[in-house]
Symmetry: C2
Subunit: 142 residues, 2 copies
């Protein structure tokens, strides 16, 4: 079977080593439900990878394109997640605090619109929406 992303080869491709710490950080990131702060990642690593090293690993993953960093709404700590193949965006429910990912073509539509109407070629599209998720605005949907 094929793992979504082969960390070792990705690192090698960019001239970096596969270390146990990087592997652990990657595992945590892959296994996490949503976005994690560096601190959360550090706490979840099997051997308690040093926070500074976690930052370095996450920064590296982001640089080589296998992770994505984002700074949601009001929060002041950055969060990371595995880079999904396609654009996606976050919606933050301000009632329950949940952060959900949304894929779909919305971001693609945004790109198209910007390109057509404004001649702007979007490299990254970061969309953070806060509001009431269906679960919170309509309790019957719970």
């Amino acid at each position: 079977m094929k793992e979504s992303i082969d960390l070792k080869s990705q690192l090698r491709q960019h001239g970096h080593k596969l270390t146990t710490q990087r592997a652990e950080v990657w595992e945590v990131l892959k296994g996490a439900p949503g976005h994690l702060t560096a601190e959360q990642v550090a706490a979840d690593t099997a051997s308690g990878v040093n926070l500074a090293s976690v930052y370095r690993a996450l920064g590296l993953f982001t640089d080589i394109g296998i992770a994505r960093e984002s700074r949601l709404g009001n929060d002041d700590a950055a969060r990371w997640e595995v880079a999904h193949p396609d654009d996606e965006f976050h919606i933050v429910c301000r009632s329950c605090g949940r952060v959900e990912h949304h894929g779909g073509d919305l971001v693609q539509q945004i790109r198209t619109h910007l390109s057509n109407s404004h001649g702007f070629e979007a490299a990254t599209v970061e969309l953070a929406v806060s509001g009431e998720c269906s679960r919170c605005s309509d309790p019957s949907a719970a």
Copy 2:
């Protein structure tokens, strides 16, 4: 003639005083081309308002809804601007570094899409796009 926003009455409405510092911060914000960091605002005030006070003023303006805070892409400092009546979004050119505002119905489309397809009622929509603006991707447009 009618000023876009009457600072004094806005403050009063929410039980706050109009101080010279707040007025200066407001002037800077209104007169600024784009988003400013707190530090930039402080530097631009006529009498050199203290940075902490600038933060307090900006926070207050944001709370009462007459300013808007945002944290663009890679930058790690928050920026503020006068709250425009409608949703808008920022596009950051990674070549020239310019930050442009865009109004239009794009954000409204996003709201509609989220509401219709996901039952999510968006309160705030923050969209930050980075890429190449037309000026940079096509030098002839300069």
